[in-house]
Symmetry: none
Subunit: 190 residues, 4 copies
């Protein structure tokens, strides 16, 4: 008997959040503005989300985050694979919308650590997985030392990409190259 939640309203709000984020940044987003731009009443927002951060979280998880969706196939060349993937992530976070999203994620994390942690883990998970798999393959191929911690490597890349997006200074191609090369030396077998 009860009317079900309006999916249209929900999508409209998430969409409005993404638009506002790209336009003015997370801090400048207001629930009131969101309601107006989504053509939804304030109450509808408050009924379904406990905070601005929660809306952002849902919007992030639902939309695609640049760099988070690892769409890089694995080849036989470990260095080439890492270079390709890290390069793609860096490029994604260098674009204006990538910067906006990264900053929003960072702000939400600073303001609401609990939610931030969940979001970060959720977004980092596929990256860690990919890196773990690629490194494990490298081990099998004899390219990588046995004691290498794949998660540590993934986290290092994530931290560097986040930080560079935060301060608005994307990693240069040279820096990417240098980092990968140095890493390879650090984990190489033998």
């Amino acid at each position: 008997m009860p009317r079900p939640r309006s999916e249209k309203a929900r999508q409209s709000v998430l969409e409005a959040m993404r638009r506002a984020l790209a336009a003015d940044g997370y801090e400048a987003v207001t629930i009131e503005g969101l309601a107006e731009s989504a053509e939804v009443s304030k109450q509808t927002i408050y009924r379904w989300w406990p905070s601005k951060a929660a809306i952002l979280g849902e919007a992030l998880l639902e939309g695609s985050v640049p760099g988070a969706d690892v769409a890089v196939p694995m080849t036989a060349d470990l260095g080439a694979d890492l270079r390709a993937w890290f390069s793609a992530m860096s490029d994604g976070l260098a674009r204006p919308e990538g910067v906006a999203l990264a900053r929003a994620l960072i702000e939400v994390t600073a303001a609401d650590p609990e939610l931030g942690l969940v979001l970060n883990e959720r977004l980092a998970a596929p990256i860690r997985e990919w890196v773990a798999e690629r490194v494990s393959r490298g081990r099998a191929d004899g390219d990588v030392r046995a004691d290498v911690d794949a998660a540590a490597i993934a986290d290092q890349f994530i931290a560097m990409a986040s930080y560079s997006a935060l301060i608005g200074q994307p990693l240069s191609a040279e820096r990417v190259e240098e980092t990968v090369v140095r890493l390879l030396r650090g984990i190489a077998a033998g």
Copy 2:
């Protein structure tokens, strides 16, 4: 000829900002609350600072930031030096007030990128300097390859420490150790 700016009021505001930051986090700080807690009129704050971010900036630059003041002497052992320093920075950022400061810095950067960039550079500068000097020494000692980019290394450590503070998961001693060891392998000469 007019009455000179009150240094007492200035210090009082910066002090209040530091207190509020540690207590409730940057976002929860209000100019009004700052004024009250500093026993200063709102107008006095608005007379001298254009924004909450600017106050934080001044407070950060004036106060000591954990990890920023590299108080680590250099010994003959590169690995020991890096371990000691990175460990100290990590520990500093792991303490509650360190987390609060790091988060505040991050929020300010997200909200006011220009100021954030200035602050980051100002705070990162001594670190880069120390790393550069230590690495250059390492090169002279024949411990480090000639083509190593000291700035890249410093930035990598900074990014990792910041990120871990942001997500509230301090780097474990093992992770610190692993990172330093791996790095050393990556930059070791011949």
Copy 3:
């Protein structure tokens, strides 16, 4: 469909205005103080009234103003009627609250002439009406000259009562008597 305006809040504000007026005078009334004393948020006041003057206007029009509500019955004796009415108005304006109201009305008129004019006309109307009717009766009775301007007489009384309230020197009984007697001589027929 939205929630309708709260009549309770409205009355509460008008009541607070009347209280504040009697207590401290119009100039000392603040919107902020009004809000607090009426237990209403500032925004609610700003939503419905454009200015302090407008609140006063509504409060005046809704409440009873001494002298404005001419409750004096007409007898066969013109002099007695005028004496009774003018005396009552003077007395009303001589009481502290009457002085406060008169002063408030005057200040509002000085500050917002347009609204002041409206209020004055609204409050003076019943007086003019009463005087006009009584004078017209006097004419019919042969007590009053045919060419007498009832409005001019009403305005004269209003001006005198207002002015005496303004300077805080109520008209003495003698002055009232003298004024009425002189007036009667000035308008007497034949």
Copy 4:
């Protein structure tokens, strides 16, 4: 030995008050604005005047107030004299600057009754004097009844002129005429 008060500064402030009054009305005058427009420091104003009202008082007493300076010679014709004088006063208060001054005087009286009373008496005194003298002459000429109260008559005119200036509706020539004629009938001998 001390430096004497600067008469230039004093005049400059009074002048600025008169200008501001004519331009924006009493309420809109601020000490700060006065100081700037008079090219005088705030402290100089606060050193010599206790309040905005006091400055207005001094400015009024020093400058000429329209209608207050009775410059009407007395002739043998009582009616003509009263007509000429009341007409001049009404005209003076009908001009924009007259309205501004009258309103300012009224506001100051409402806000600071004590000072207002002094100012009113000071300004009304010459009027009362003139009326008293003219009426006394009328009595001597046998035009006026013996029991007429000259002060009451003067006050009546003052009240009417003030009130009409306050509500911004100057007395029409007809109303002036009617009032004088009616008055004459009211005070005529025999």
